[in-house]
């Protein structure tokens, strides 16, 4: 009886948990704060109205050429309304560049960890950086399922700090899953790290680096990340005492060309980042 009930229900169920509003401090830029609140509210409505199957349905191709799930679309639509209210520009994975004639551009990943968000794995977040004159000045990451928020300004030390670890042996490392081309590098890291986690949400994993819960996060060579996947870490991890670098030393840029990809390495210290990179690149 349980089996047949189960079989009929495949994916056709709602995610039962509420999405709280993010816990924001007063000094978050109003445009970033409004976008983050709009994202949480939209994701909460999406979970209340749509089954897991509907949330993950591919409804379009994004501006970067990858498919857009319904959950991404719903949250991005809410963010578009927000940036028109705030009269700032937007660079986002689905919409691309939206010009509102402002000197300020928000570089946003509406739903980081889209698959987690669609299936109900409670590890997904909003990630937004405020860019002026080609430089990221401020960043906000908010974890949808708890409302926890990490806020930072470029160059201003945060209250939370990285662990300060300098060596890979025994470190706690978050990684993207191994792919066929990166499997050997993945295993070289895994065999030296003390603890390995794969959470499938880069923006949240890099915040765990900033907070000192893990020592590092690495994409071991798959060049998966667009700038909006790394923009919040680019501000927040250094402000917490760590570094964010590309595996091949390529500089991070905020251009509207979304075919541009990087392999992000967030680490508690520059030494740890160097050792991670050497381990990936050294066959």
């Amino acid at each position: 009886m349980a089996r047949s009930a189960n079989r009929e229900s495949v994916g056709n169920v709602l995610i039962p948990w509420d999405v709280p509003q993010p816990q924001l401090s007063d000094d978050v830029h109003p445009a970033l704060a409004d976008a983050a609140r709009a994202a949480s509210a939209a994701y909460g409505r999406a979970r209340a109205l749509h089954t897991r199957l509907e949330l993950r349905e591919e409804v379009a191709d994004g501006a970067d050429g990858t498919p857009t799930m319904r959950v991404d679309r719903i949250v991005e639509d809410a963010i578009l309304e927000s940036i028109h209210r705030s009269r700032v520009n937007l660079l986002s994975e689905e919409a691309g560049f939206v010009d509102n004639g402002s000197s300020v551009t928000l570089v946003i990943d509406p739903v980081d960890g889209s698959a987690n968000a669609a299936f109900g794995v409670p590890l997904s977040c909003f990630a937004g950086a405020l860019v002026e004159d080609g430089t990221a000045k401020e960043a906000l990451t908010t974890w949808f399922d708890t409302g926890r928020a990490w806020h930072a300004r470029a160059g201003v030390p945060t209250a939370f700090r990285t662990t300060g670890r300098t060596s890979l042996d025994g470190a706690a490392v978050c990684m993207m899953r191994p792919k066929r081309g990166t499997q050997d590098a993945w295993l070289r890291i895994a065999n030296r790290a003390g603890r390995i986690r794969v959470l499938c949400t880069t923006c949240l994993e890099t915040m765990l680096v900033a907070e000192g819960a893990v020592d590092a996060f690495i994409d071991p060579g798959s060049d998966t990340h667009r700038i909006m996947d790394l923009a919040t870490a680019l501000v927040t991890v250094p402000a917490a005492g760590g570094v964010l670098v590309d595996l091949h030393g390529r500089p991070f840029t905020f251009g509207p060309d979304l075919t541009h990809r990087w392999s992000g390495v967030a680490a508690a210290t520059p030494q740890l980042a160097e050792e991670l990179i050497a381990t990936v690149l050294d066959a």
Copy 2:
């Protein structure tokens, strides 16, 4: 400046987030409910009083011979007080079997995902099963960082359901990290699954299987689990339409011998469990 502040603070910081009380329904057995509330309160106090470095310090060897971190000790002490209040027996990884002359034994993992709990990765939980006459009758798992709870009675269908997926290709699978002896099996699963996650908390990962957020969880051969790591899944996953089995078909038993180990496989359906096992065992 940020670097030197960082270096001094390695591990010497508190985890800044509160631990809420678990959200329990009225029909949870009072002894299980009291133990779960005691666990959340104790872990909350532990995070407020002790740095990450102190939480993970090894303070003793448990009844099963593995080291006990301070965070485990603090939460287990609170559970010992709880079972003496409730006048039930306890089987727990640190204390072993505690006989209060009751017909009821709680089989408890006070802190599942101890390393996550100690370092501040917000993925750890209390897991307790109520055993009578050698059979698990009821189970409660509570996620510390959110208060979310999963409650089930043996043989009574739960409101939450597994995904019903029957095949591995493209499935979403949680796994324990690869170890040297299980690396090949780990990669065979990873290369067929659609999505892989490594959350380092078996009890929470098996609840994600029960809830239909992922299709399966597997320890691909390391025989890491004691009975208290699997007792809640043994009740909850079948009640949600899935299965919990051992990789080698060994029956789960609730004896006080904590050297007994299993490789747990939780899956949305018996067919998926069989395919996972065949994939691990087939070289």
